[in-house]
């Protein structure tokens, strides 16, 4: 069964069609790249999948079940996690609590256990804290566990966002420009990291990225968007030689420059 099936998805803001007739199927264990010029509608696709926007038309199925129309928190609980292009951590919290907070739907003590700090509460807190620490260790953030998230370096913040997404125990992970603003060495690390977490946590990944080196390296398939529509699909090699894609990018280059 495919992990994600999107059919004829459209989203209009007033007269503007931000996403138009978008269809995509992700199979278990794939890493697929979503690329395209700025304003092509890539992040809007993420917002539609995660339920932040309601689609104007079309369907989104996750593990065979319709999810469009569900509120974001329910979609998350079914197993879709994401990061944000403009990092959205719980900035005032510690690194550890950024991760522990999102364990919330899977916590096995109730409100009164918490108020009275019963043994069940203590045991469960310990379990969650350990799991959170394991995630932080996997992403090399364990030494920063008690620091405020806002005080982390930029790259660490990006990794913390990934750790937090993983804490929701997703089957599908949506990464929105995970390597934005990174230098080549950091980008290489990020590529390794994404491969590593994909294997370790058995993920299917959809990735928005502008760094061509990264997508070419990481993704098995690419989907190219422009003006809300898919203009090409294929392997990285096919996309690299596709004249329509070149035009989309160069055309944009020509008008901006």
């Amino acid at each position: 069964m495919p992990v994600l099936e999107i059919e004829n998805l459209s989203k209009a803001f007033g007269g503007l069609k931000a996403v138009n007739n978008f269809s995509l199927t992700l199979e278990e264990g794939e890493i697929v790249g979503l690329i395209g010029p700025n304003g092509a509608g890539k992040t809007t696709v993420f917002n539609l999948i995660t339920g932040l926007y309601k689609p104007t038309s079309g369907t989104i199925r996750f593990l065979g079940e319709e999810i469009s129309g569900l509120p974001p928190f329910k979609i998350s609980q079914r197993g879709i996690a994401r990061t944000f292009q403009n990092i959205r951590l719980f900035k005032g919290n510690t690194v550890l609590d950024n991760v522990r907070a999102v364990f919330h739907p899977r916590i096995k003590y109730n409100f009164f256990d918490a108020l009275l700090r019963t043994p069940r509460f203590t045991a469960e807190e310990l379990r969650v804290t350990q799991k959170a620490m394991e995630l932080l260790e996997a992403l090399n953030l364990d030494k920063r566990a008690n620091e405020k998230a806002a005080n982390l370096a930029y790259g660490d913040q990006r990794r913390l966002e990934i750790a937090r997404a993983l804490a929701t125990q997703p089957r599908l992970l949506l990464l929105d420009e995970p390597a934005a603003g990174m230098n080549p060495a950091e980008v290489r690390h990020m590529v390794q990291l994404i491969r590593f977490i994909k294997e370790k946590y058995k993920l299917t990944i959809l990735l928005i990225e502008h760094q061509m080196g990264m997508v070419m390296n990481l993704c098995e398939r690419l989907v190219v968007m422009d003006f809300g529509q898919i203009i090409a699909k294929g392997t990285p090699l096919e996309i690299r030689n596709n004249p329509v894609v070149l035009e989309a990018y160069l055309g944009k280059g020509a008008t901006v420059a």
């Binding site: 992040t43 917002n47 932040l52 944000f84 959205r88």
Partner: protein, 294 residues
């Protein structure tokens, strides 16, 4: 029927005065996103200065009004300079707390015996009240004056905001302080001007209020201030026509509730309507719904 129309007229008069106060709230909110809780008290100071001007110092009424407006403009600028500017880029709540502090300060300071004193004062009419009967309706010269003055002020404000460089600067600052600064707008000066204009309007509202409802005291600004602020929110805060629309609605609601339901329920119904409107239009009647960019 005549009775109803007269009530509508009274509500219109009250609404116009709320509009003068609401404009200050909405303009200030537009440029610094602050609920200036002290604004109602600037209105009170305006009422007192106007009263002292024409009733105690014997100035001609227009001069007394101008004096009140100029002094309150200065007061508004000083308040912004001392109490809000140091907090402009602090968390928003800090400036709000400061505004509450300034509001309390103006109320208690005005209550001191050597300032305005804690008591109610009765304001003598600066001119005799004249009533006209028009088609069975009683219209007073005070209503006419309020209407004409507010209308002139609204037109002047419209010209200022859309036809002058200062107005353009205000609109720019309302969108983005940094971008405005990069475009060569003096943000500090523009904010000061906004406070000055808003406060002058409140002072004018205060003097008119004191003439129409001739009793003043240091805590008189609280309720009209809240109502005017509510009116601004009702119309969509930061939007000038919204403030006027909201104020006119508030005036009607209040007057009609007093006349036909119960004057004690007046405030409750006014605020119940506000809450209802917000539930259906969370950013007010004319406010645009913003979707946060993710």
């Amino acid at each position: 029927m005549e009775h109803f129309l007269e009530q509508v007229l009274n509500g219109f008069q009250l609404g116009l005065m709320y509009a003068l106060i609401a404009l200050g709230y909405t303009m200030v909110y537009g440029v610094v996103q602050l609920i200036n809780f002290a604004h109602g008290d600037v209105f009170m100071v305006g009422a007192f200065l106007g009263y002292f001007g024409f009733a105690v110092w014997g100035l001609p009424l227009p001069l007394a009004i101008l004096l009140a407006m100029a002094s309150c403009a200065l007061l508004g600028v000083i308040i912004e300079r001392i109490a809000y500017r140091p907090l402009r880029y602090a968390p928003k709540i800090a400036a709000l707390i400061s505004a509450i502090g300034v509001s309390l300060f103006l109320e208690y300071f005005s209550s001191l015996k050597f300032v305005f004193g804690p008591n109610y004062r009765v304001v003598p009419r600066p001119f005799p009240e004249i009533q006209w009967k028009i088609a069975g309706l009683t219209v007073t010269n005070i209503q006419v004056i309020v209407f004409v003055v507010v209308l002139i002020m609204l037109i002047l404000l419209q010209i200022l905001i859309y036809r002058t460089k200062t107005g353009m600067a205000m609109r720019t600052v309302a969108v983005d302080h940094n971008a405005a600064r990069l475009m060569g707008v003096n943000v500090d000066t523009t904010i000061s001007i906004t406070f000055a204009i808003g406060s002058a309007f409140a002072a004018l509202g205060g003097v008119l209020y004191a003439i129409a409802y001739p009793q003043i005291h240091p805590f008189m600004g609280i309720m009209p201030g809240l109502k005017a602020f509510t009116a601004a929110v009702l119309g969509g805060i930061g939007i000038i026509p919204g403030a006027v629309l909201g104020a006119l609605i508030m005036g009607q609601v209040e007057t009609l509730t007093s006349a036909y339901i119960s004057s004690q329920m007046r405030d409750a119904i006014a605020f119940a309507i506000l809450i209802l409107v917000l539930l259906f239009r969370p950013t007010g009647l004319l406010g645009r719904t913003e979707t946060e960019k993710v």
